[in-house]
Amino acid sequence: MAYSEKLIDHYQHPKNVGTLDKAKQNVGTGLVGAPECGDVMRLQIEVDEESGLISDAKFKTFGCGSAIASSSIATEWLKGKTVDEALAIDNMDIVEELNLPPVKIHCSVLAEDAIKAAINDYRVKNGLPEIVEDKKHH
């Protein structure tokens, strides 16, 4: 299976690997996937309360190269966006950007799920209702 250069680059030099303080009011954490399925993603966002922009995003991923690259690119895209803008990130954007082969599309789905989970965690912490997914991927 030949992977795109961009994917390999994100695997070899992942952006924003790390951990934010999940106890903080302005940090949202999403943990998706399962060890038994071979991939687990934890994605975190930190929201600047004054501007409402995502000031930082971090991830840690257990999974294949596509899963690592998908979460790396997701954190890149999140930074500087408002929470509402972040909600609009679609898994197919990741598929296109990394040129994911069909068997790896689930990695992009997982990344989108991780973004939504992090946002919902942030919303609930800040007294906002959870956003229920209207799109069914799987």
């Binding site: 992977y3 695997y11 399962a34 257990f62």
Partner: protein
């Protein structure tokens, strides 16, 4: 060229094997079944000689060797052939859960035909329980099919003890010895084997040729042909002989006969060094029994990193295979590792190392370093590793299963 550590999948042809084969593509191209001219005689002579080379390696009589297209065909011929031939005696076969798919899927086929199959479990070290084996035998049992050495973990089943049980109950013993023949001494007489499948390309011979050993006395074993035609191979396997392939197979067996002992000693030393090097990593586990094992195989799980992601870290430089079949798009971890009782997480985190004739010490050093570096790097970005280090019990988390 990348370092090749996937010798359980296939081996490169030994140059001496290729050299022996070449004349049989061109000037000595005759059909071994052509009795009326010298071209045919040359082919027949070459096949006869190869049959002796092959038989000698396993201490069989040349007449007991049936050439096939490979071990898969030999597995099919043995199981289906015995099932048909001994239908009046019974319809029950005993095998085990860690067998190769060529055996398991053939057994599934037998079940569809109305046969009964018992799939013995294995212990966490990969060995079957001999008491369970004996208890599974009924008056309808016609065949026990247990592999010699496992292709994923290298574990060697106690073939002599198994054959003693088979003998005691008058049941035939078939073994898929594809990974063992040419690597360790396999002796069909001393081991008490009635039928045995093996293949050339796992022992530095060409692909597309293998053999089924079929015992001729004590007892005389017969199988019903699964390929009908010209009645080649004493009627058990019709089809024009693959003369160059068979010549190569014979040569490969001869080389193994002469070099197996020193090669096994050299490879087990390298394997042990590889294993010791990688076991320096935290949370690394060797899968399968380490004592009863092929000398050139190691299967290691690196907890909290995923096998396919791990391989991507060095697959430009090292060719090996992962216990996670993610790469084959099935996303299922290895059924062999799961049969040992490994959780999906550990099964997803395993690598299979198959050393071979052309593996060098430098390659082992490079491999230890490359894999250790990748494991450490990936653990730094693994949320599971972080939780483990923080003392979080991963089983206490409610994972969102897909």
């Amino acid at each position: 060229m990348p370092i090749y550590l996937d010798n359980n999948a296939t081996t490169p042809c030994d140059p001496r094997v290729v050299e022996a084969m070449i004349p049989y593509f061109t000037e000595k191209f005759g059909n071994a079944a052509s009795r009326s001219h010298s071209f045919g005689w040359a082919g027949e002579e070459a096949v006869d000689y190869a049959r002796e080379q092959v038989a000698k390696l396993i201490n069989a009589d040349p007449k007991e060797i049936i050439f096939t297209s490979g071990a898969t065909e030999a597995d099919n011929l043995a199981i289906k052939g015995v099932y048909e031939m001994y239908a009046s005696k019974g319809n029950h076969i005993i095998t085990c859960t860690t067998e190769h798919k060529a055996v398991l899927d053939t057994c599934k086929h037998i079940e569809k035909l109305g046969g009964q199959v018992t799939y013995l479990p294995v212990a966490e070290d990969g060995l079957i329980d001999l008491k369970e084996l004996e208890a599974a035998i009924t008056d309808k049992t016609i065949l026990i099919s247990i592999m010699y050495g496992n292709n994923e973990i290298g574990v060697l089943q106690p073939i002599r003890e198994i054959s003693a049980i088979a003998r005691k109950h008058g049941v035939l013993l078939f073994t898929d010895a594809t990974q063992a023949v040419g690597k360790i001494p396999v002796d069909v007489i001393a081991d008490g084997i009635d039928l045995m499948a093996f293949s050339a390309h796992k022992m530095y011979g060409p692909k597309g040729v293998g053999a089924l050993y079929v015992r001729r006395k004590n007892p005389r074993v017969k199988v019903t042909a699964q390929m009908d035609g010209g009645g080649h191979e004493r009627g058990m396997r019709s089809g024009t002989m693959n003369v160059p392939g068979i010549v190569g197979f014979g040569k490969a067996c001869e080389i193994c006969m002469n070099e197996m002992e020193s090669e096994a000693a050299r490879l087990s030393k390298m394997r042990d060094r590889l294993e010791a090097g990688l076991m320096q990593l935290e949370e690394a586990y060797v899968n399968g029994n380490r004592e009863h094992r092929l000398p050139h195989v190691a299967n290691i799980s690196f907890k909290y990193v995923e096998g396919e992601g791990l391989m991507m870290g060095f697959n430009k430089d090292i060719a090996l295979s992962s216990g996670s079949a993610c790469t084959s798009a099935s996303l299922e971890p290895s059924y062999v590792l799961k049969a040992l009782g490994l959780g999906d997480d550990l099964a997803h985190s395993s690598l299979r190392f198959g050393l071979g004739r052309f593996t060098t010490d430098d390659q082992i050093d490079f491999t230890i370093k490359a894999i250790s570096d990748t494991v450490i790097k990936l653990r730094e970005m693994s949320p599971l590793w972080e939780m483990f280090k923080d003392g979080v019990d991963l089983n206490s988390i409610e994972w969102a299963h897909h």
